[in-house]
Amino acid sequence: MENQMKLTPPPQSVISTAAVRLESQSVSIFYGEKEAVKNVDVSFKSNTVNALIGPSGCGKTTFLRAINRMHDLTPGARVTGKIMLDGNDLYGDGIDPVDVRRRIGMVFQKPNPFPTMSIYDNVAAGLKLAGERNKQKLDEVVERSLRGGALWDEVKDRLKAPGSSLSGGQQQRLCIARALAVDPEILLMDEPTSALDPQSTSRIEDLMETLKQQVTIVIVTHNMQQASRVSDTTSFFYVGDLVEHGVTSEMFTNPKDKRTEDYITGRFG
């Protein structure tokens, strides 16, 4: 049992009862000839927050961006293996990456609202892309998404103001609301708080706790306290390898691999 632990999280009531939502099977990612992510098998369950940690250049962001097929846009990048969402291979034949990205939302490192659009239009952007024109429906979704992003109370009186007029932390919550508006099943977050002050960071961390009621979250973070605070499972990447994956509380108190231990105790990275 002990040596299988590496890839299968040990049973823990909350997690073990949930169904596997997202699963990677032998995923390798190449930039040209360079193999940035090597043969990763990992699975994430429904309604959990899953942290990807590791030192810079370890492949965690590369892996995250493979999940919503962002590598399709990078010339020379190549993904092999399978990434399954509810049992369907996202890289399978006839799968439209546009469709994949509608079902798997993403929040970036730096808040990136569309600067020429109002707060309202930023949130509605994804719906309008999907062809929604009904004003009443749009109003409804914008409000629900902004509430989901814990931003509604701060902006409800100025929905017409430009999205870029908000503070950095508010902009990031706007981006979360924008991602939520298209009702994604998975939400990918690429170091979503690394550009924010501690107060905004803590608001977004609280938000993740609520968000996992409706989505499965995969978050890349450099901040191990953050990983331990917000996540249910943690995956430790090192030079392209998934070294260890497990329930966060166990991994931080009792890491199985020497490299994990060295990293989380701050010996390198």
């Binding site: 919503n68 962002m70 846009l73 546009v98 469709d99 990205r101 509608r102 939302g105 993403m106 970036f108 730096k110 990136n112 609202p113 569309f114 600067p115 020429t116 659009m117 952007a125 994804g126 892309l129 999907a130 430009p162 870029s164 007029s165 981006c175 924008r178 991602a179 298209v182």
Partner: protein, 311 residues
Amino acid sequence: MTPTIPTPPRRSFGMNSGSDNVFRNIIIGLSSLVLVATVLYGFVLIVGGLPAFQREGIGFLFGLNWDPGKGIYQALPFIAGTFFTAFGALLLAVPLSVAAALFISEYAPRWLAGPVGSAIELLAAIPSVVYGLWGIFVLIPAVRVFQVWFVSVTGVPWPPTGTGLMSAVLILAVMVIPFICAISRDVITLVPNDQREAAYALGATKWEVIRFGILPYARAGILGGVILGLGRAIGETLAVTMVIGNANVIASTPFSSTATMSSIIASNFGEANETLRPALIAIGFMLLVFSVIVNVIARIVITRLTPVGTR
């Protein structure tokens, strides 16, 4: 008992060094020279054109009658000619330029983008007299063929002469494309990648990324390129003079010969008499005024279009 610590000698801050002041004065002197030249420019033109303004009054701007034989100089035909040609050229050039810029920056593979971009920039370096020659030997015959066909098919009684408004618009369009295209390409390339990714991550197709993420972000810069192209289209003289037909009337059809403010100056200044000369100078002054107005409007519009937080 306590060891004495040597106090470091107090140092004073140096005054501005002398050479800095000299350089500062040189820079101020040179830049004021530019300002003085501009003011002088306007002054010389307004003084030289005054007799024409006095004789024609407001009719100089709004009268249609330009008759050197009778000594009547009303410049509306040329003002209209300048506006028709310049905006006609933009109407053709802007969509083409922005499309080319998008192709170079978003679609073309790198090995193709470089050469195509350089080729378009090269168009800007061709002297306008060469464009004029090309206009006479290539464009006008081609336009004439089209016009003959057009008249024969539609029966519209427009004179298929080749020279005229249409040729001027076409040649100006070709001449402003490199400006608008090069600037558009630069500002599109400068759109941060996170804007593209934000749109892609919402499930946008490539075209939607361009429409939602790229063009709105780049619109102020693209407009800057358009204004630069407009400036060139308003001011361009030689090539236009060579193909526009130089008739002192407002074009009544798209095929008609007409003239622009700059082409009437270029084609008449050589043999201008004592009454014609002030009228031409006055047109020159109006051209200056229009250029200033275009620039001021451009500045206002660009500032308003620039996304908040990226200024």
